[in-house]
């Protein structure tokens, strides 16, 4: 056990070193760096403004008011924001395969996943997280908070990060087989995020089932938020779904881990 903890601590340390190096490198073009930070905050801000403008036309969407939608939006946004900051660069694994940089990484004494994820670490992604936090705080006004609900909210946010974590890794692994399919993963990561920004009631029942049992993105925020808002499940699915997000996160992490190891095992260098 002590060895495992030491290995994890080592990996984190190495991650921080590589990330810090990329931050220094980004600061070599200070103008671009700061404009990117502002731009990234703006992009998410305008995204929520778009949602707000929808509510300018209608009082509620799929039976949910603006504050309730903000709660969903914020929870999902924090989840993908953190996952994207820490691990989002895994999307570029196909580029590493194509250009051969993955070979160089394989020879270094740092876990491959750590290197790929820390590559091109971008502080600007904090912009998305801070926006999501603000929106979540605004949405929190629609909840009658109790201690249990605060606990569930924390569990929800952590699970959301982990589920998006697994999506980033699992769907990027496809690139070990087809190098130039980066965008395919976006359908599940950013697509999953976009889906969960809206109340699931706007989708037909079959879509919701797919998002629950197939691509379990509904556990990112939908089921826990129903409990936080004190709403019965509009689709008649069991109420205890609100509490299983961590289990789902564990499952998706396992799948992602398996996908990653089999992807790396499958990998043959472009040079051979």
């Amino acid at each position: 056990m002590a060895e495992v903890t030491a290995a994890v601590r080592g990996a984190c340390q190495e991650y921080v070193w590589i990330a810090a190096m990329w931050v220094r490198s980004a600061l070599a073009y200070p103008w671009s760096f700061w404009i990117l930070v502002v731009g990234s905050a703006l992009i998410t801000l305008l995204d929520f403004v778009g949602l707000g403008l929808m509510f300018h036309t209608i009082p509620h969407l799929g039976g949910f008011g603006l504050r309730e939608v903000a709660l969903l939006y914020g929870a999902s946004g924090i989840g993908i924001g953190v996952a994207d900051l820490v691990i989002g660069s895994v999307e570029q694994v196909g580029l590493h395969v194509r250009t051969g940089t993955l070979d160089a990484m394989l020879t270094r004494p740092v876990p491959l996943l750590v290197q790929v994820c820390a590559d091109r670490f971008a502080v600007r992604r904090l912009g998305r997280i801070s926006q999501a936090l603000v929106v979540f705080a605004y949405g929190a006004g629609s909840v009658d908070w109790t201690l249990a609900k605060v606990g569930l909210a924390l569990v929800m946010v952590v699970s959301a990060c982990l589920i998006f974590f697994s999506f980033f890794v699992a769907f990027s692994c496809i690139q070990f087989w087809t190098v130039d399919s980066t965008e395919f993963a976006n359908a599940f990561t950013y697509g999953g995020n976009t889906m969960t920004q809206y109340p699931m009631t706007i989708f037909p029942r079959e879509v919701l089932k797919g998002l629950t049992f197939l691509i379990p993105v509904a556990f990112v925020n939908w089921y826990p938020c129903l409990f936080l808002l004190g709403r019965p499940d509009p689709f008649g699915l069991p109420g205890w779904f609100a509490f299983v997000s961590p289990v789902v996160a564990g499952l998706t992490l396992t799948v992602a881990g398996l996908a990653w190891t089999s992807g790396v095992r499958h990998y043959t260098s472009t040079g051979s």
Binding site: L46, T182, E183, F184
Partner: protein, 265 residues
């Protein structure tokens, strides 16, 4: 016909990445489905929001997903090559070619746009037809005007991206400006939400800006919300913005070549 040759080669260059194209079509379609349901929920409550009906709204979604790459909403296209060549200093070679630099890159970008219409535009449109029964052009004439309008959209988008790339002459790296420009384009083109349902005065302002050219104007022609004089007025505004922005491109490039020392001396 040098520019045609440049365009053809650019078309071929972008057509090499087949899996990437398929992956892109898949992703656009997923987003098409999500936004379709969101808009259906909205138009279910307000069946005449922005003068659109539910079919118009869903058609608008799929047109947006189909044109996303053609109008290079997120940036990209040949202007990214230019920015990189400015950063490395290779732009010096472009500048002493006996061909206009703007024309060279514009031709390349038009070749790219034609490829993206065919490869990234047709399939999502068909999927939209199958899944959501979207509307086809109101008439063959509307279809023809749509193509003209789309061509103007690409030129306008090129000019804006070219100006963004030119900031690299001063800032060395375009990525910050590229992102800012993308943010504005996504919001003000009507990709986030159709400009027609923006509240006034935001609506009128957005409709008068060059980004309306990207999606809102072509879509309104497709949907038959503009006809006769309305089409001509829309196209005239597009031509005006394209001409003004191309003139600015010329001026900026002239200023850059006069004042800036290219990297590498």
């Amino acid at each position: 016909m040098l520019y045609a040759a440049v365009a053809v080669r650019s078309f071929r260059r972008f057509s090499t990445y087949r899996t990437a194209t398929l992956a892109g079509v898949f992703t656009n379609s997923v987003f098409g489905v999500i936004y379709s349901y969101a808009y259906l929920a909205l138009w279910h409550q307000r069946p005449d929001a922005g003068g659109y009906d539910a079919t118009d709204a869903v058609t608008y979604v799929w047109l947006g997903q189909a044109l996303l790459m053609t109008i290079a909403l997120w940036g990209g296209g040949t202007t990214d090559d230019l920015a990189e060549r400015i950063r490395t200093g290779d732009v010096a070679i472009d500048l002493y070619r006996p061909v206009g630099l703007i024309g060279w890159y514009l031709a390349g970008d038009l070749g790219r746009a034609v490829y993206h219409v065919l490869a990234r535009g047709v399939l999502p449109t068909i999927l939209g037809l199958v899944l959501f029964d979207i509307a086809l052009p109101a008439s063959p004439l509307a279809g023809a005007w749509f193509v003209v309008s789309l061509a103007l959209a690409v030129v306008t988008s090129f000019a804006i991206r070219f100006l963004v790339a030119c900031t690299a002459f001063w800032l060395l790296d375009q990525s910050g400006m590229r992102m800012l420009s993308g943010v504005l384009a996504i919001f003000l083109s009507g990709m986030t939400l159709p400009l027609v349902i923006f509240p006034e005065p935001l609506r009128s302002i957005a409709l008068a800006l060059p980004w309306a050219s990207y999606l809102q104007t072509p879509a309104d022609i497709w949907l038959g919300h503009r006809h006769g004089a309305g089409i001509l007025a829309g196209l005239a505004l597009q031509v005006l913005w394209a001409a003004v922005l191309m003139a600015v491109c010329r001026a900026v490039l002239a200023a850059a070549t006069r004042k800036v020392v290219v990297q590498g001396g």
